[in-house]
Amino acid sequence: MIRPRSETFFVPLGNAYVDIYFPKQSAKEIRPVIGITAYLGRSFNVHSEPYYLQPVLPNLRTIFLTFRDRNSNELLTDQPAWQYGTAVQFAAPTPYVPVMTNPRTFAALPIDPQKTSVYSLTTFTGGEHLALEFIYSE
C-alpha cells in the first residue's frame, strides 16, 4: 500500500475486559485513514524507551479494536486485531510468516486516534504495547 503519510501509535496493554484508549496527545487535526497495520512480535525503541510487542499467539487473537470518529460514533466495531497484521512470528526462531498479503483499504475514514479503544480478553503484565499504524491519504 502506498503511504502518503503514516503515524504509529503505541498503546500500553494492561488488564483484560477493560477498554484501553490511545494515549493522550496534543490536539491534532484528524486525517483520513485508508489503511491500518498492527505490528506483531517485534520491539521498537521510541523516545529511549523499549516497547515490547507480545508474541503473536495466543494473545493477539484475544484483542479487539473499536475505531470512532471525533463525535464518538463507532466506525469499525469490535474488530479482531489479527486482520491488521501483515506478518506473524509464531515462535522464535521461526521467520515471519505473511498472513494478510492483501491488506484491506478503508474509505478515508475520519478516525480520531484518541477515541480508539483496545479491548483484550488477556491481562498483560510485562509492559507490552500494541503498535498500530494508521496510513493516511494525505
Binding site: L57, T77, W82, V99, R104, T105
Partner: protein, 136 residues
C-alpha cells in the same frame, strides 16, 4: 476490494446441544438493520481465540461443519454458503464481497453439517455502508 466504510463483528453462539442439521439464527444488530452489505469475513480460533463473552471461536477443524444462509426480506440470497469460504486468512486477506445486499439479519442463519461446531462461537465481520433506499 472496495474501501471499507464501516465494519461490525457479529458473534453467534452455537449451543452445546446443537447437532447435524441444527439451525442457529443470527442476532439482531441495530447498526446493521439499514446497512448495505459490502463483504463478510470470518475467523477460526487461530486468528481469534474467543468472542467477547469468552466462548471459544470455532476451530479450523470444525469450521467446515458450518454453512451460512443470508436472507434479504424473504429471498435467500446466499444458500448454504460454506463458512470456510469466508476465511480471509486462507486467501491472503481477501474477503468475499457481496453486491449491496440489505439483509434481514434475524432470518439469516448458520446450519451445522456436522456436530463438530457445537459449543463454540462464530465471528462474522460485516463490512457495510449506509445509503438511501431507492424509491420503488
Amino acid at each position: 476490494m472496495r474501501p471499507i466504510q464501516r465494519a461490525q463483528t457479529i458473534f453467534v453462539t452455537i449451543p452445546a446441544t446443537a447437532s447435524t442439521g441444527s439451525k442457529v439464527f443470527l442476532p439482531d444488530i441495530p447498526e446493521l438493520r439499514e446497512a448495505v452489505i459490502d463483504g463478510i469475513e470470518t475467523y477460526t480460533d487461530t486468528q481469534l481465540g474467543f468472542d467477547l463473552t469468552g466462548t471459544a471461536i470455532v476451530s479450523a477443524a470444525n469450521i467446515s461443519g458450518l454453512v451460512l444462509n443470508l436472507v434479504q426480506e424473504s429471498d435467500r440470497r446466499a444458500q448454504d454458503f460454506p463458512l470456510q469460504s469466508l476465511l480471509a486468512v486462507a486467501y491472503g486477506g481477501l474477503y468475499k464481497e457481496f453486491s449491496g445486499w440489505r439483509l434481514n439479519w434475524q432470518k439469516c442463519y448458520l446450519q451445522l453439517v456436522t456436530a463438530g461446531p457445537a459449543a463454540s462461537a462464530v465471528a462474522l465481520n460485516v463490512f457495510y455502508h449506509y445509503e438511501a433506499r431507492k424509491p420503488r
